[in-house]
């Protein structure tokens, strides 16, 4: 009874979720029809649960930045820099036993460094935006370049290969038969959903995004809230970096370049309003799942990566047009 109520209120509150679910089912059906033997294999879905969390976390990060009408173009740079700094630490600390057997304490330290990188990077973004009053687009465009640049300086260009086994578990392992990154993503997504809908921070961010002037007159601490939101964004990006480096057992300055466009696309597709005030973790999660199905389907159909980029771009413009059309009729 209660569950039914919940679903109904969910549908009433945001019919965007229903549309997303319909779209996901549609994509699933079309891909199944196009290549039933390859698309429906268990292996295909299992590999999606490994790749999906990185992009999902980056998209949630993008959504949080968009809540206040901002954007974070530095997420991919933060993710790579986090992975690389942890990798540099492991290579420095690696004893005679080799990197794979690095002690758990070192791995924990690496985790702290990676998350700390995200926190510092997010704080820098937040301070540039709130204290110096730079527009989010240009501030994060600049810092993203600095983070990527630092990653190049640290590595000299090539990838850092080889991470401890315990680290790789975060990207490759299994907990109770489920991919570790997937479990991590689920936990973080629930946490963020809670923060956004049930805590003062989340409510404040929504209000600031809906009407900055009214929020100011209502006495909300705009600067501090926006700063917190960019710190959260940075930390989420660094978690994505940890998972990415764990999964591929390597960290490089130009990994995941196309993730930026995809994260923006997923945030917009998932019902986030880039002008601020609206966005849900649930919407993002369904949108990532839909796009992952689409992308794996295209890969099975042997589309080149460039062509898939083309489709992402086209999809983004299509979603913009559809959203505008929807808002007009309402």
């Amino acid at each position: 009874m209660k569950a039914q109520m919940n679903i109904r209120s969910l549908v009433n509150r945001d019919n965007n979720i229903v549309q997303l679910l319909v779209m996901t089912v549609l994509i699933f059906a079309v891909m199944t029809a196009l290549s039933p033997d390859k698309f429906l294999r268990y292996y295909n879905f299992e590999s999606i649960t490994y790749i999906f969390p990185e992009l999902g976390l980056l998209s949630i990060a993008m959504m949080i930045a968009m809540l206040t009408g901002g954007i974070d173009l530095s997420v991919v740079g933060v993710a790579n820099l986090s992975g690389i700094l942890a990798g540099v630490l492991f290579h420095k600390m690696a004893g005679a036993a080799g990197i794979a057997d690095t002690g758990i304490l070192t791995v924990l330290l690496g985790g702290v460094i990676a998350l700390g990188t995200g926190l510092v990077a997010g704080t820098v973004n937040g301070l540039l935006i709130t204290r110096l009053g730079i527009t989010p687009i240009l501030a994060t465009l600049g810092t993203g370049q600095v983070f990527t640049g630092l990653a190049i300086v640290l590595t000299g260009g090539p990838a850092i290969v080889g991470f401890p086994t315990a680290w790789a578990f975060l990207g490759n392992g299994k907990i109770l038969g489920l991919a570790t990154p997937f479990v991590l993503f689920a936990v973080i997504a629930v946490l963020i959903a809670f923060v956004l809908s049930r805590t003062a921070l989340g409510i404040n961010l929504m209000l600031i995004g809906t009407n900055p002037k009214a929020a100011l007159f209502a006495g909300l601490k705009r600067e501090r809230m926006v700063l917190y939101s960019y710190m959260l964004t940075g930390v989420l990006a660094s978690v994505a970096g940890i998972i990415l480096s764990g999964r591929t057992n390597a960290a490089k300055s130009d990994y995941g370049n196309s993730y930026l466009l995809q994260a923006v696309l997923i945030a917009v597709l998932g019902g986030t309003n880039p002008a601020g005030g609206r966005g849900t973790v649930l919407g993002i999660t369904i949108a990532v799942a839909a796009l992952m199905l689409l992308s794996s389907g295209f890969q099975i159909l042997r589309f080149s990566n460039h062509l898939i980029d083309f489709i992402w771009g086209a999809f983004l413009l299509l979603v913009i047009a559809l959203n505008a059309y929807k808002n007009r009729t309402r």
Partner: protein, 325 residues
């Protein structure tokens, strides 16, 4: 006094200071061939910066112009090879029109759907690059296949100087094209209604609409011109480097945006000048080139450009808020 308070004067001062500093560290900076090659490096970024200036003045942003430039360049040269055509004017015209058509798509989405320009241009950029590499091709067109007329045209020099050892170097005539386009942009921005409407739009869109400006015309003009300049610069670039690479210009958007903001254009729209932008372009190109002269490791380039963007935007934000207060 009024001259001293203009941002162009400040930028020119900083530029001179930086030149003296770099020249002291390495006197090779002041050699004529280095200065000529600096001016040569200004041309392509400078022409693109004119388009970005227009977009920033209107309060928008464009990250798609490098994709448009590379697409117009590669498609034009592919077309020339397929048709066996060897010329200069028609291909440049074709590349410009292609860029203009791409820009019109940006304008359409920005105006019709009221979407944030950054997100629109991210989308069009991915589409154009994806189409170019996924459908048209990924192979470079090298000097042995490049149309000779283009290369000959881009090799024209204004002045040629002979070195003591007999080799010659010169100032490329492409600088004149850059200066001509900059002058045209200056006249459009200062003395035409469409140019003034770009400033009005960047200052306050609602006020501009009520003052009677046709914002549809303005927005289409802005993004079409930005695209057209990018297409033109793209083809000119391939003539200057004797190569057509479909993966060219990756990450160039940041350099150009940095240069324009460095040149005093406001990040909030409504302010900016051609002269300031030219100084900003020169400053950025000089700093990037001088990193090599000053023996800084090239891996630091991204960090330096990123820091320049942050510093320039912070200054711009500080100045504009103080003015508003």
């Amino acid at each position: 006094m009024a001259l001293l308070r203009r941002s162009e004067t400040v930028i020119a001062g900083i530029l001179l200071l930086a030149m003296v500093l770099i020249g002291t560290i390495n006197p090779a900076f002041w050699q004529l061939d280095n200065l000529f090659s600096l001016m040569r490096s200004n041309v392509i970024i400078g022409i693109m910066a004119m388009g970005v200036l227009l977009v920033l003045i209107s309060g928008g942003i464009d990250v798609s112009f490098p994709a448009f430039a590379v697409a117009a360049m590669y498609l034009t040269i592919k077309g020339m090879l397929a048709l066996g055509y060897n010329g200069v004017v028609l291909p440049l015209l074709a590349a410009t029109i292609m860029g203009l058509a791409f820009g019109a798509v940006n304008g359409f989405f920005v105006y019709k759907f009221r979407m944030i320009p950054l997100i629109v241009t991210l989308g069009t950029s991915a589409m154009v690059r994806g189409f170019l590499l996924g459908v048209v091709g990924t192979s470079m067109i090298n000097i042995n296949k490049m149309p000779t007329a283009l290369i000959e045209f881009a090799r024209t020099d204004v002045v040629t100087v002979a070195k003591p050892d007999g080799t010659t170097y010169g100032l490329t005539a492409m600088v004149l094209i850059y200066l001509g386009l900059a002058l045209a942009m200056h006249l459009v921005l200062r003395h035409t209604m469409i140019g003034r409407s770009a400033y009005a739009l960047g200052g306050d869109p609602e006020a501009a609409r009520r003052a009677g400006f046709d914002l549809r015309k303005t927005i289409f003009f802005i993004y079409c011109v930005a695209g057209a300049l990018a297409g033109f610069a793209g083809l000119l670039h391939s003539g200057m480097i004797w190569l057509a690479n479909p993966r060219d210009f990756v990450g160039l958007e940041l350099d150009v945006i940095a240069a324009v903001v460095l040149g005093g254009a406001s990040i909030f729209g409504g302010r900016g000048s051609v002269l300031g932008t030219m100084l900003g372009v020169f400053m950025l190109v000089m700093v990037k080139n001088s990193l090599i002269i000053m023996r800084v490791d090239t891996t630091w380039q991204l960090v330096v450009v990123g820091l320049i963007v942050i510093a320039a935007t912070a200054l711009s934000a500080w100045r504009d808020r103080r003015r508003a207060a």
